[in-house]
Structures are given as structure tokens and as C-alpha cells.
């Protein structure tokens, strides 16, 4: 799906936990997530902390979308 969106001419950021799969599939802008059943959350945190964490990941994805890349790039989330 990532590739078809990119092919349609829309930049796409893939947020996923298992980044090697994303690299194999061919995503260009990749942001690592937290865990498979909760990529953008962590039930061990308080609701406030969890939302803060989610915001960090989404902001990393937005920054990735604003960054020119010439190939597959993984953008680490600064925690």
C-alpha cells in the first residue's frame, strides 16, 4: 500500500514496528513504532504520557515528510 500511494504521487510516511519488513516492502520514509499491538501507544504509561509519546512519533513522521530523501530512510524518534 505504501508503494502504491507513493506511486500515485503523494509522499507517504510508514510508521511501523518491524522496520526490516518496511525496508523490504520498499517504503521510503520510515518511522519506527513502539510495539506490534500498539505501534503508537504504550499501555504501561499514564494516559497523558502515552499521548505525549504518540505525539512525538507523529511529529517525527511530519518532520520526515518535510525532509527530502533520495532513498529509503529511517527517521528515529527522539525520546
Amino acid at each position: 500500500m505504501v508503494k502504491e500511494i507513493e506511486r500515485a504521487g503523494i509522499p507517504v510516511v510508514h510508521i511501523c514496528t518491524v522496520t526490516p519488513i518496511s525496508l523490504t516492502v520498499g517504503a521510503n520514509r520510515i518511522v519506527p513504532a513502539v510495539a506490534i499491538p500498539h505501534p503508537l501507544g504504550n499501555p504501561a504509561l499514564t494516559a497523558g504520557e502515552e499521548k505525549q509519546l504518540r505525539r512525538k512519533i507523529v511529529e517525527t513522521a511530519l518532520d520526515a515528510a518535510c525532509t527530502e530523501v533520495d532513498g529509503q530512510t529511517v527517521f528515529e524518534v527522539n525520546v
Binding site: 500500500m1 505504501v2 508503494k3 502504491e4 500511494i5 507513493e6 506511486r7 500515485a8 504521487g9 503523494i10 509522499p11 507517504v12 510516511v13 510508514h14 510508521i15 511501523c16 514496528t17 518491524v18 526490516p20 519488513i21 518496511s22 523490504t24 516492502v25 520498499g26 521510503n28 520514509r29 513504532a33 510495539a35 506490534i36 499491538p37 500498539h38 505501534p39 503508537l40 501507544g41 499501555p43 502515552e50 499521548k51 504518540r54 505525539r55 512519533i57 507523529v58 511529529e59 513522521a61 511530519l62 515528510a65 518535510c66 525532509t67 527530502e68 530523501v69 533520495d70 532513498g71
Partner: protein, 349 residues
Amino acid sequence: MSKFKVVHYINQFYAGIGGEEFADHKPELRDGPIGPGTAFAGAFGDKAEIVKTIVCGDSYFNENLGEAKETLLGMIREIDADLFIAGPAFNAGRYGVACGTICDAVSAELGIPVLTGMFEENPGAEMFKEKMLIVATGSSAAGMRKAVPTMAALALKLAGGEPIGASIEEGYLPGGARVNFFEKERGSKRAVDMLLKKLKGEPFVTEYPMPDFDRVPPNPAVKDMSKAVVALVTSGGIVPKNNPDRIESSSASKYGEYDITGVDDLTEATYETAHGGYDPSYANQDADRVLPVDVLRDLEKEGRIGKLYNKFFTTTGNGTSTKSSKLFAQEFAKKLKDDNVSVVILTST
């Protein structure tokens, strides 16, 4: 002749420990064959014996790649095996990646021959088929009966150091390795035969298939995020409560398109996941953990992004064929493009 000693790797599901709720199961060493191992044991007869089975949860392995690999290598190093078998993983993505990763490590670091089995669309197959023999299996465990004899035969050859034939004869996924041999017919004759078949519209098999590099170059970056329309797409199966379009929990035949105008937060009462390939409890409790609508609404209010697109697209990326996924995305990407969406955030579980 003494029996070959085989170590077998399986996940929590095939060990009978449980499904997704036990996917965090830590590596564990057990004596003798378990689950699919008993089928291998039957096929091996008196030629080989599964001395130990290693069980590890799929999520645990993939979320702790380095640690899981070290623990497993430590276990396997003690055994002095003649062969290491993993899976088969069929089309289970995390299981396939785990099988490939551990086989690769065992082969590289312990020098033991390795073998695994997967469906050709398993992401693990694409990642590892050039590094090891991966027997081509069906997409689900229904293919076990067919996979076991092929894997067992190849396993015995590997353990005995016998020469391995071409992928088409032995049943593994072609890894690109070439072996010189003499053809019965000259090249010129074979080429003309192929050409004649082509002219007559008959099927023919090329001797030199072109590699399939399906890469899409990245699009230019978004210039001004504060004016951008951001759309959300997920393969994590987030749907309105009760899954109105009945998107299948695995091998999805469709995607959903849902309006989120006025939705600021995905709650337990309003949204859930239809995905059958991961423990759904966290996403059902709060679907923002997979599809971050709450945060994007905040960013929209703060002016950090121009607008959150008023719909999201969703399917379950669980054993769903690449062909279907491609068709889904071609269809909705056109809608996104027509609606001038500037950037897509796609989340996967």
C-alpha cells in the same frame, strides 16, 4: 549410520501455548519434537531425530531482535546439531521474519546447515531467500501436509552434505544462485523454439527471468506542513465499532473508507480493530494507539498541520495478498490524489 541431530524452531502458536495473547512468550527450550516437529519426525523415519525444539513468541522475537537472536544462539550452540529447521511459517509475517533471522544467524555464526519454509509473499521470504533455502509452502497451515515431505527430503540432503538440485526440482524459492550444467539442446535451438512458441501464442518459460525490482522513488518533501492536508491509512484494521463492512480479520478482500469529520478521539465505545494477527486488546481499548486521530486533531487545532483529511482508509494486513493490497491502495490513492491530500501517514501493526 547414526541419526542426524535436528533442532527445530517454532512459534508460540504451533507449540500449543496460545495465539496472539501469548505472542510475547520468551524463548524456551524443550526436549524432542512438538507440533509440526512430530510430522517432520515421521517423515525423517530413522534417518534423523529432532532432539530439541525451541519455542519463541512472534512479537517477542520481532520486538527484541538482538536479544532474541543471542538467547537462541546460546541455546543452539549447546546442542551440537547437524541441522536447524525453522517453521514452516506459511504467510505469517512475523513468524517468517523470525524463522529467516534465526536461520541466518545459525548458519553464519554456528556453521550449521539451515532450512525453513514460507509462502512466497511472506516478507521473510523476500528478506532471506537469497541467503538460505526456503521451501515454498501454501499460505496457511493447511499446506502443512504438502510442505513436510518436501522440507524433510531437503533437510536430509542438507544434513548429509548432499548436492542440492535446482529450485524448481527441490521445491524451494529461487534465491538467484546459478549452477553450470549441460543442456540437452543447443542455445540457438532453444531460443528458436521459444520464439516459435511465442509467435504461436503458446506458453513458454524464459531461461533468464528479469529481476523484479519494484521500487518507487520518494516523492519530494512537503514544503509547508501548516498548509498540508494529512491523511491517515492503516493496515492495522481499525474500524468503527462492530466492523460495519465486515472487513475480514485475515486475508482481507476489501478495505474500509470511514468519515472522521468531527471525530477528535477514537474511543473504546466507537472504534475497534478487525485485525486477527495481533492481540487486539490495546487497540480495542484505544484505537488512537494504531490510528493517531487524537494527536492529529490537536496538531490541526494548533496549526502545525493544515488539515486532517476527513476520511481514513483501513484494511487488515494479516495474510492479505500483495495483489489485493496493491489494488486497494491504487483505488484509494486515486481518491486521495483527487482530493489534494499532501501527505499520507500509514501505520502498520
